[in-house]
Amino acid sequence: MIDPVISHPLGDFIREIIPIPEISFLINALISIIAICAVAIGTAPILIYMERKICAHIQCRLGPMRLGFHGTLQTIADVMKLLFKEVYAPKGADKFLFYLAPMISLTAPFLALTMIPFDHNLQVANLSVGIPFIIAVNGFGILGILIGGWASNNKYSLLGSLRSGAQMISYEISFALVLLFVVMVSGSANLMDITQSQSGTILDWWIFKIPVLGFIAFIMFFISSTAELNRAPFDIAEAEQELTGGYHTEYNGTAFAMFYLAEYINLVTTSSLATTCFLGGFYPPLIGIESIDTLLLKVPGFIWFAGKVFFMISAYMVVRWTFVRPRVDQLMDFEWKFLLPANLLLLALGATYIAIIG
Protein backbone atom coordinates (compact mmCIF):
# COMPACT_ATOMS: atom_id res chain seq x y z
CA MET A 1 0.00 0.00 0.00
CA ILE A 2 0.98 3.63 -0.28
CA ASP A 3 3.04 5.04 2.50
CA PRO A 4 1.88 8.48 3.56
CA VAL A 5 3.89 11.27 2.01
CA ILE A 6 2.35 14.01 4.04
CA SER A 7 0.57 12.05 6.69
CA HIS A 8 -2.69 13.01 8.34
CA PRO A 9 -4.64 15.27 8.32
CA LEU A 10 -3.77 16.95 5.01
CA GLY A 11 -2.43 13.87 3.20
CA ASP A 12 -5.35 11.69 4.30
CA PHE A 13 -7.81 14.37 3.22
CA ILE A 14 -6.30 14.51 -0.26
CA ARG A 15 -6.25 10.72 -0.46
CA GLU A 16 -9.95 10.65 0.42
CA ILE A 17 -11.17 13.15 -2.15
CA ILE A 18 -8.93 11.91 -4.98
CA PRO A 19 -9.41 8.18 -5.52
CA ILE A 20 -6.52 7.62 -7.96
CA PRO A 21 -3.47 6.93 -5.80
CA GLU A 22 -0.91 8.14 -8.33
CA ILE A 23 -2.50 11.57 -8.64
CA SER A 24 -3.02 12.03 -4.92
CA PHE A 25 0.61 11.00 -4.48
CA LEU A 26 1.69 13.67 -6.93
CA ILE A 27 -0.39 16.32 -5.19
CA ASN A 28 1.06 15.31 -1.84
CA ALA A 29 4.58 15.43 -3.27
CA LEU A 30 3.91 18.89 -4.72
CA ILE A 31 2.62 20.20 -1.40
CA SER A 32 5.65 18.86 0.45
CA ILE A 33 8.02 20.37 -2.12
CA ILE A 34 6.37 23.78 -1.72
CA ALA A 35 6.49 23.47 2.06
CA ILE A 36 10.18 22.55 2.10
CA CYS A 37 11.00 25.38 -0.32
CA ALA A 38 9.12 27.81 1.89
CA VAL A 39 10.95 26.64 5.00
CA ALA A 40 14.36 26.62 3.33
CA ILE A 41 14.25 29.79 1.27
CA GLY A 42 12.12 31.70 3.75
CA THR A 43 14.44 31.20 6.71
CA ALA A 44 17.65 32.08 4.85
CA PRO A 45 17.10 35.90 4.77
CA ILE A 46 16.04 35.83 8.42
CA LEU A 47 19.20 33.91 9.34
CA ILE A 48 21.43 36.26 7.39
CA TYR A 49 19.91 39.24 9.17
CA MET A 50 20.23 37.43 12.50
CA GLU A 51 23.85 36.60 11.86
CA ARG A 52 24.73 40.17 10.94
CA LYS A 53 23.05 41.50 14.05
CA ILE A 54 24.63 38.91 16.39
CA CYS A 55 28.04 39.48 14.85
CA ALA A 56 27.66 43.24 15.16
CA HIS A 57 26.56 43.17 18.79
CA ILE A 58 29.37 40.79 19.77
CA GLN A 59 31.81 43.25 18.23
CA CYS A 60 30.07 46.24 19.90
CA ARG A 61 28.68 47.52 16.61
CA LEU A 62 25.12 48.16 15.55
CA GLY A 63 25.06 46.22 12.28
CA PRO A 64 22.59 47.11 9.51
CA MET A 65 20.41 50.00 10.69
CA ARG A 66 19.38 52.13 7.70
CA LEU A 67 16.91 50.14 5.62
CA GLY A 68 13.63 49.51 7.41
CA PHE A 69 13.24 49.10 11.15
CA HIS A 70 16.72 48.28 12.51
CA GLY A 71 17.89 47.26 9.06
CA THR A 72 15.35 44.47 8.54
CA LEU A 73 15.06 45.19 4.84
CA GLN A 74 18.81 45.02 4.27
CA THR A 75 18.88 41.34 3.27
CA ILE A 76 16.07 41.84 0.77
CA ALA A 77 18.01 44.72 -0.76
CA ASP A 78 21.08 42.45 -0.95
CA VAL A 79 19.10 39.75 -2.72
CA MET A 80 17.87 42.33 -5.24
CA LYS A 81 21.43 43.50 -5.78
CA LEU A 82 22.68 39.95 -6.38
CA LEU A 83 19.90 39.32 -8.89
CA PHE A 84 21.08 42.20 -11.06
CA LYS A 85 24.76 41.25 -11.04
CA GLU A 86 26.30 39.75 -14.11
CA VAL A 87 26.89 36.00 -13.96
CA TYR A 88 29.97 34.84 -15.83
CA ALA A 89 32.68 32.22 -15.61
CA PRO A 90 36.32 33.33 -15.65
CA LYS A 91 38.71 32.58 -18.47
CA GLY A 92 39.84 28.96 -18.60
CA ALA A 93 37.08 27.74 -16.31
CA ASP A 94 35.28 24.51 -17.03
CA LYS A 95 31.90 26.11 -17.75
CA PHE A 96 29.79 23.00 -17.30
CA LEU A 97 31.28 22.06 -13.93
CA PHE A 98 31.40 25.71 -12.89
CA TYR A 99 27.61 25.99 -13.06
CA LEU A 100 27.04 22.42 -11.88
CA ALA A 101 28.77 23.03 -8.55
CA PRO A 102 26.13 25.33 -6.99
CA MET A 103 23.42 22.94 -8.13
CA ILE A 104 25.09 20.01 -6.40
CA SER A 105 25.75 21.88 -3.21
CA LEU A 106 22.12 22.97 -3.05
CA THR A 107 20.80 19.44 -3.56
CA ALA A 108 22.17 18.03 -0.32
CA PRO A 109 20.44 20.33 2.22
CA PHE A 110 17.07 19.98 0.50
CA LEU A 111 17.31 16.20 0.58
CA ALA A 112 18.26 16.24 4.24
CA LEU A 113 15.32 18.51 5.13
CA THR A 114 12.86 15.86 3.94
CA MET A 115 13.92 13.54 6.75
CA ILE A 116 13.28 15.97 9.59
CA PRO A 117 10.11 15.46 11.65
CA PHE A 118 8.82 18.95 12.35
CA ASP A 119 5.78 17.74 14.29
CA HIS A 120 3.84 14.53 15.03
CA ASN A 121 2.64 14.41 11.44
CA LEU A 122 4.82 16.89 9.63
CA GLN A 123 7.49 14.89 7.88
CA VAL A 124 7.96 14.52 4.16
CA ALA A 125 9.57 11.09 4.06
CA ASN A 126 9.60 8.78 7.05
CA LEU A 127 12.45 6.47 6.13
CA SER A 128 13.67 3.66 8.34
CA VAL A 129 17.24 4.52 7.32
CA GLY A 130 16.98 8.20 8.17
CA ILE A 131 20.35 8.65 9.87
CA PRO A 132 22.48 6.79 7.26
CA PHE A 133 20.62 8.68 4.57
CA ILE A 134 21.53 12.01 6.13
CA ILE A 135 25.17 10.94 6.47
CA ALA A 136 25.18 9.91 2.81
CA VAL A 137 23.57 13.14 1.66
CA ASN A 138 26.02 15.19 3.65
CA GLY A 139 28.84 13.75 1.59
CA PHE A 140 27.15 15.19 -1.47
CA GLY A 141 27.71 18.75 -0.32
CA ILE A 142 31.48 18.20 -0.25
CA LEU A 143 31.33 17.27 -3.92
CA GLY A 144 29.82 20.63 -4.82
CA ILE A 145 32.63 22.49 -3.06
CA LEU A 146 35.36 20.36 -4.64
CA ILE A 147 33.91 20.71 -8.14
CA GLY A 148 33.38 24.44 -7.72
CA GLY A 149 36.96 24.97 -6.60
CA TRP A 150 38.46 22.92 -9.37
CA ALA A 151 36.32 24.34 -12.17
CA SER A 152 37.11 27.97 -11.28
CA ASN A 153 40.65 27.91 -12.69
CA ASN A 154 41.83 29.93 -9.71
CA LYS A 155 44.59 28.91 -7.33
CA TYR A 156 42.80 30.24 -4.26
CA SER A 157 39.66 28.37 -5.20
CA LEU A 158 41.49 25.11 -5.69
CA LEU A 159 43.42 25.45 -2.44
CA GLY A 160 40.28 26.40 -0.54
CA SER A 161 38.20 23.60 -1.95
CA LEU A 162 40.84 20.92 -1.32
CA ARG A 163 41.40 22.11 2.22
CA SER A 164 37.69 22.19 2.73
CA GLY A 165 37.36 18.71 1.28
CA ALA A 166 40.02 17.34 3.61
CA GLN A 167 38.39 19.04 6.58
CA MET A 168 34.87 17.96 5.75
CA ILE A 169 35.68 14.32 5.11
CA SER A 170 37.64 14.20 8.35
CA TYR A 171 34.87 15.64 10.49
CA GLU A 172 32.27 13.63 8.64
CA ILE A 173 33.55 10.58 10.49
CA SER A 174 32.92 11.93 13.95
CA PHE A 175 29.64 13.41 12.72
CA ALA A 176 28.57 9.94 11.62
CA LEU A 177 29.85 8.23 14.77
CA VAL A 178 28.02 10.60 17.11
CA LEU A 179 24.82 10.04 15.16
CA LEU A 180 25.47 6.30 15.47
CA PHE A 181 25.69 6.79 19.23
CA VAL A 182 22.18 8.25 19.12
CA VAL A 183 21.04 5.35 16.94
CA MET A 184 22.45 2.93 19.50
CA VAL A 185 20.83 4.48 22.57
CA SER A 186 17.46 5.03 20.93
CA GLY A 187 17.43 1.68 19.14
CA SER A 188 16.30 3.02 15.78
CA ALA A 189 17.66 4.98 12.83
CA ASN A 190 14.28 6.44 11.97
CA LEU A 191 14.21 10.10 12.97
CA MET A 192 10.57 9.91 14.05
CA ASP A 193 11.35 6.95 16.32
CA ILE A 194 14.34 8.79 17.74
CA THR A 195 12.12 11.75 18.58
CA GLN A 196 9.46 9.53 20.11
CA SER A 197 12.04 7.81 22.28
CA GLN A 198 12.52 11.18 23.99
CA SER A 199 8.90 11.74 25.03
CA GLY A 200 8.34 12.60 28.67
CA THR A 201 10.01 15.20 30.78
CA ILE A 202 13.05 17.27 29.89
CA LEU A 203 15.24 14.63 31.53
CA ASP A 204 14.20 12.15 28.86
CA TRP A 205 15.97 14.07 26.11
CA TRP A 206 19.07 12.23 24.98
CA ILE A 207 21.30 15.06 26.08
CA PHE A 208 20.26 14.41 29.71
CA LYS A 209 18.89 10.87 29.65
CA ILE A 210 22.27 9.18 29.77
CA PRO A 211 24.27 10.82 32.53
CA VAL A 212 27.40 12.66 31.30
CA LEU A 213 27.72 10.57 28.10
CA GLY A 214 24.73 12.25 26.48
CA PHE A 215 26.10 15.69 27.14
CA ILE A 216 29.56 14.73 25.85
CA ALA A 217 27.95 13.33 22.70
CA PHE A 218 26.05 16.57 22.23
CA ILE A 219 29.24 18.64 22.53
CA MET A 220 30.99 16.34 20.04
CA PHE A 221 28.09 16.67 17.65
CA PHE A 222 28.27 20.42 18.01
CA ILE A 223 31.99 20.52 17.22
CA SER A 224 31.89 18.16 14.27
CA SER A 225 28.79 19.78 12.79
CA THR A 226 30.41 23.21 13.04
CA ALA A 227 33.27 21.81 10.99
CA GLU A 228 30.81 20.16 8.60
CA LEU A 229 29.09 23.49 8.08
CA ASN A 230 32.42 25.15 7.31
CA ARG A 231 31.70 27.83 9.87
CA ALA A 232 34.24 29.61 12.02
CA PRO A 233 36.22 28.53 14.03
CA PHE A 234 36.52 25.76 11.40
CA ASP A 235 36.26 27.95 8.32
CA ILE A 236 39.73 27.39 6.89
CA ALA A 237 38.05 26.69 3.56
CA GLU A 238 37.27 30.36 3.12
CA ALA A 239 39.70 32.00 5.48
CA GLU A 240 39.69 35.50 4.02
CA GLN A 241 43.15 36.38 5.25
CA GLU A 242 44.76 33.38 3.55
CA LEU A 243 42.57 32.36 0.66
CA THR A 244 40.44 35.40 -0.21
CA GLY A 245 37.07 33.74 -0.77
CA GLY A 246 38.01 30.06 -0.82
CA TYR A 247 36.09 27.90 -3.24
CA HIS A 248 33.64 30.63 -4.27
CA THR A 249 36.21 33.31 -5.11
CA GLU A 250 35.25 33.33 -8.77
CA TYR A 251 31.51 33.08 -8.34
CA ASN A 252 29.35 36.14 -8.63
CA GLY A 253 25.72 37.15 -8.82
CA THR A 254 23.12 34.46 -8.32
CA ALA A 255 25.64 31.61 -8.68
CA PHE A 256 27.39 32.92 -5.59
CA ALA A 257 24.05 33.46 -3.87
CA MET A 258 23.28 29.76 -4.31
CA PHE A 259 26.39 28.78 -2.36
CA TYR A 260 25.36 31.22 0.33
CA LEU A 261 21.83 29.84 0.37
CA ALA A 262 23.14 26.27 0.61
CA GLU A 263 25.26 27.28 3.59
CA TYR A 264 22.29 28.69 5.49
CA ILE A 265 19.93 25.84 4.62
CA ASN A 266 22.65 23.50 5.84
CA LEU A 267 22.66 25.44 9.08
CA VAL A 268 18.91 24.87 9.45
CA THR A 269 19.25 21.19 8.58
CA THR A 270 22.05 20.55 11.04
CA SER A 271 20.30 22.45 13.82
CA SER A 272 17.15 20.44 13.14
CA LEU A 273 19.21 17.27 13.35
CA ALA A 274 20.66 18.34 16.69
CA THR A 275 17.17 19.18 17.92
CA THR A 276 15.79 15.84 16.78
CA CYS A 277 18.62 13.74 18.13
CA PHE A 278 19.46 15.48 21.38
CA LEU A 279 16.93 18.15 22.34
CA GLY A 280 13.70 16.19 22.21
CA GLY A 281 12.50 17.22 18.76
CA PHE A 282 8.99 18.62 18.85
CA TYR A 283 8.32 17.71 22.49
CA PRO A 284 7.94 20.59 24.92
CA PRO A 285 10.38 20.78 27.85
CA LEU A 286 8.08 19.26 30.45
CA ILE A 287 9.33 19.49 34.01
CA GLY A 288 6.98 17.14 35.81
CA ILE A 289 4.76 19.73 37.52
CA GLU A 290 1.30 19.11 36.17
CA SER A 291 -0.09 22.65 36.06
CA ILE A 292 2.89 23.98 34.10
CA ASP A 293 3.05 20.90 31.85
CA THR A 294 -0.54 21.25 30.66
CA LEU A 295 0.22 24.85 29.76
CA LEU A 296 3.37 23.84 27.82
CA LEU A 297 1.51 21.08 25.99
CA LYS A 298 -0.99 23.61 24.64
CA VAL A 299 1.71 25.07 22.39
CA PRO A 300 1.88 23.11 19.11
CA GLY A 301 4.91 20.92 18.51
CA PHE A 302 6.34 22.68 15.48
CA ILE A 303 6.63 25.91 17.49
CA TRP A 304 8.73 24.09 20.08
CA PHE A 305 10.74 22.61 17.24
CA ALA A 306 11.33 26.01 15.64
CA GLY A 307 12.25 27.47 19.01
CA LYS A 308 14.86 24.79 19.66
CA VAL A 309 16.22 25.10 16.13
CA PHE A 310 16.65 28.84 16.56
CA PHE A 311 18.32 28.25 19.91
CA MET A 312 20.82 25.92 18.21
CA ILE A 313 21.36 28.39 15.35
CA SER A 314 22.11 31.22 17.74
CA ALA A 315 24.56 28.93 19.54
CA TYR A 316 26.35 28.27 16.23
CA MET A 317 26.42 32.00 15.51
CA VAL A 318 27.76 33.01 18.91
CA VAL A 319 30.48 30.34 18.61
CA ARG A 320 31.33 31.60 15.14
CA TRP A 321 32.01 35.11 16.36
CA THR A 322 33.74 34.29 19.65
CA PHE A 323 36.40 31.70 18.83
CA VAL A 324 39.59 32.10 16.83
CA ARG A 325 40.39 29.97 13.82
CA PRO A 326 42.94 27.15 14.31
CA ARG A 327 45.67 26.46 11.78
CA VAL A 328 44.94 23.77 9.22
CA ASP A 329 47.30 21.20 10.79
CA GLN A 330 45.90 21.86 14.26
CA LEU A 331 42.45 21.31 12.84
CA MET A 332 43.33 17.94 11.34
CA ASP A 333 45.19 16.90 14.48
CA PHE A 334 42.17 17.77 16.59
CA GLU A 335 39.94 15.52 14.55
CA TRP A 336 42.20 12.51 14.02
CA LYS A 337 44.11 12.51 17.28
CA PHE A 338 41.45 13.65 19.71
CA LEU A 339 37.89 13.63 18.42
CA LEU A 340 37.96 10.30 16.61
CA PRO A 341 39.54 8.22 19.44
CA ALA A 342 37.22 9.96 21.89
CA ASN A 343 34.31 9.07 19.65
CA LEU A 344 35.21 5.40 19.52
CA LEU A 345 35.58 5.46 23.28
CA LEU A 346 32.17 7.09 23.59
CA LEU A 347 30.61 4.32 21.50
CA ALA A 348 32.22 1.67 23.67
CA LEU A 349 31.12 3.39 26.88
CA GLY A 350 27.59 3.81 25.52
CA ALA A 351 27.47 0.12 24.63
CA THR A 352 28.61 -0.75 28.15
CA TYR A 353 25.98 1.54 29.64
CA ILE A 354 23.22 -0.09 27.63
CA ALA A 355 24.49 -3.59 28.38
CA ILE A 356 24.55 -2.96 32.13
CA ILE A 357 21.65 -0.60 32.76
CA GLY A 358 19.56 -1.18 29.65
Partner: protein
Protein backbone atom coordinates in the same frame (compact mmCIF):
# COMPACT_ATOMS: atom_id res chain seq x y z
CA UNK B 1 3.78 -0.24 -9.19
CA UNK B 2 4.15 0.41 -5.54
CA UNK B 3 4.56 4.03 -4.61
CA UNK B 4 6.84 4.57 -1.69
CA UNK B 5 8.51 7.50 -0.02
CA UNK B 6 11.68 6.96 -1.98
CA UNK B 7 9.90 8.36 -5.04
CA UNK B 8 9.34 11.63 -3.22
CA UNK B 9 13.06 11.73 -2.53
CA UNK B 10 13.51 11.43 -6.29
CA UNK B 11 11.69 14.75 -6.65
CA UNK B 12 13.80 16.32 -3.97
CA UNK B 13 17.00 15.06 -5.58
CA UNK B 14 16.32 17.43 -8.44
CA UNK B 15 14.67 20.19 -6.47
CA UNK B 16 17.86 21.83 -5.22
CA UNK B 17 19.57 21.50 -8.59
CA UNK B 18 16.49 22.93 -10.28
CA UNK B 19 16.35 25.94 -7.96
CA UNK B 20 20.04 26.66 -8.48
CA UNK B 21 19.71 26.30 -12.26
CA UNK B 22 16.69 28.61 -12.28
CA UNK B 23 18.52 31.19 -10.18
CA UNK B 24 21.57 31.11 -12.45
CA UNK B 25 19.43 31.50 -15.56
CA UNK B 26 17.53 34.42 -13.96
CA UNK B 27 20.86 35.97 -13.05
CA UNK B 28 22.08 35.55 -16.61
CA UNK B 29 18.95 37.22 -17.94
CA UNK B 30 18.68 40.06 -15.44
CA UNK B 31 22.34 40.83 -14.85
CA UNK B 32 23.71 43.99 -16.44
CA UNK B 33 26.83 43.10 -18.38
CA UNK B 34 29.71 45.33 -17.42
CA UNK B 35 32.00 46.78 -20.07
CA UNK B 36 34.31 44.23 -21.65
CA UNK B 37 37.95 44.77 -20.92
CA UNK B 38 41.13 42.77 -21.32
CA UNK B 39 41.20 41.50 -17.78
CA UNK B 40 37.52 41.12 -17.07
CA UNK B 41 37.54 37.35 -17.43
CA UNK B 42 40.94 36.82 -15.87
CA UNK B 43 40.92 34.73 -12.68
CA UNK B 44 41.53 36.72 -9.52
CA UNK B 45 45.11 36.65 -8.27
CA UNK B 46 45.58 39.64 -5.98
CA UNK B 47 45.50 42.01 -8.91
CA UNK B 48 48.58 40.61 -10.64
CA UNK B 49 48.71 38.98 -14.04
CA UNK B 50 47.75 35.32 -13.72
CA UNK B 51 50.79 33.15 -13.47
CA UNK B 52 50.97 29.55 -14.65
CA UNK B 53 48.29 26.90 -14.53
CA UNK B 54 45.80 26.94 -11.67
CA UNK B 55 45.35 23.15 -11.69
CA UNK B 56 48.51 22.43 -9.79
CA UNK B 57 49.66 19.11 -8.36
CA UNK B 58 48.82 18.48 -4.76
CA UNK B 59 50.65 16.65 -2.07
CA UNK B 60 49.82 13.03 -1.41
CA UNK B 61 48.72 13.77 2.17
CA UNK B 62 45.21 14.61 1.03
CA UNK B 63 44.97 11.23 -0.66
CA UNK B 64 45.99 9.35 2.49
CA UNK B 65 43.39 11.22 4.54
CA UNK B 66 40.78 10.37 1.93
CA UNK B 67 41.73 6.68 2.19
CA UNK B 68 41.46 6.77 5.98
CA UNK B 69 38.11 8.50 5.67
CA UNK B 70 36.90 5.75 3.38
CA UNK B 71 37.81 3.09 5.93
CA UNK B 72 36.10 4.83 8.82
CA UNK B 73 33.01 5.79 6.87
CA UNK B 74 32.49 2.21 5.75
CA UNK B 75 33.06 1.19 9.35
CA UNK B 76 30.27 3.52 10.43
CA UNK B 77 28.03 1.89 7.84
CA UNK B 78 28.94 -1.58 9.09
CA UNK B 79 28.32 -0.57 12.69
CA UNK B 80 24.94 0.90 11.88
CA UNK B 81 22.77 -2.26 11.64
CA UNK B 82 24.19 -3.83 14.78
CA UNK B 83 23.85 -0.59 16.73
CA UNK B 84 20.27 -0.06 15.59
CA UNK B 85 19.38 -3.47 17.04
CA UNK B 86 21.74 -3.27 20.00
CA UNK B 87 19.11 -2.35 22.59
CA UNK B 88 16.76 -5.14 21.51
CA UNK B 89 19.55 -7.69 21.58
CA UNK B 90 20.67 -6.61 25.02
CA UNK B 91 17.12 -6.88 26.34
CA UNK B 92 16.89 -10.47 25.06
CA UNK B 93 16.04 -13.32 27.40
CA UNK B 94 19.05 -15.52 26.88
CA UNK B 95 22.28 -14.45 28.43
CA UNK B 96 24.64 -15.87 25.82
CA UNK B 97 23.55 -13.87 22.76
CA UNK B 98 23.95 -10.41 24.34
CA UNK B 99 27.40 -11.34 25.62
CA UNK B 100 28.53 -12.59 22.21
CA UNK B 101 27.17 -9.51 20.45
CA UNK B 102 28.75 -7.19 22.99
CA UNK B 103 32.16 -8.87 22.68
CA UNK B 104 31.90 -8.78 18.88
CA UNK B 105 31.18 -5.07 18.99
CA UNK B 106 34.06 -4.37 21.32
CA UNK B 107 36.45 -6.39 19.12
CA UNK B 108 35.27 -4.55 16.01
CA UNK B 109 35.75 -1.12 17.57
CA UNK B 110 39.10 -2.19 19.06
CA UNK B 111 40.45 -3.29 15.66
CA UNK B 112 39.57 0.10 14.25
CA UNK B 113 41.09 1.81 17.23
CA UNK B 114 44.35 -0.04 16.72
CA UNK B 115 44.19 0.68 13.00
CA UNK B 116 44.02 4.36 13.81
CA UNK B 117 46.88 4.00 16.28
CA UNK B 118 48.95 2.27 13.58
CA UNK B 119 48.29 5.06 11.08
CA UNK B 120 49.22 7.56 13.77
CA UNK B 121 52.48 5.77 14.53
CA UNK B 122 53.33 5.54 10.82
CA UNK B 123 53.06 9.32 10.63
CA UNK B 124 50.17 9.48 8.18
CA UNK B 125 48.24 11.79 10.46
CA UNK B 126 51.01 14.34 10.44
CA UNK B 127 50.03 17.35 8.40
CA UNK B 128 52.93 19.28 6.98
Amino acid sequence: MEISEYYVLGFFLFLGAFIAAAAIIIGKLLGFASKDSKNKYAPYECGMETYGNARIQFKVGYYLFALLFLIFDIEALFLFPILAQFKTIMAGETLLVPIIVFIDLVIFVAILFFGLAYAWKKGILKWE
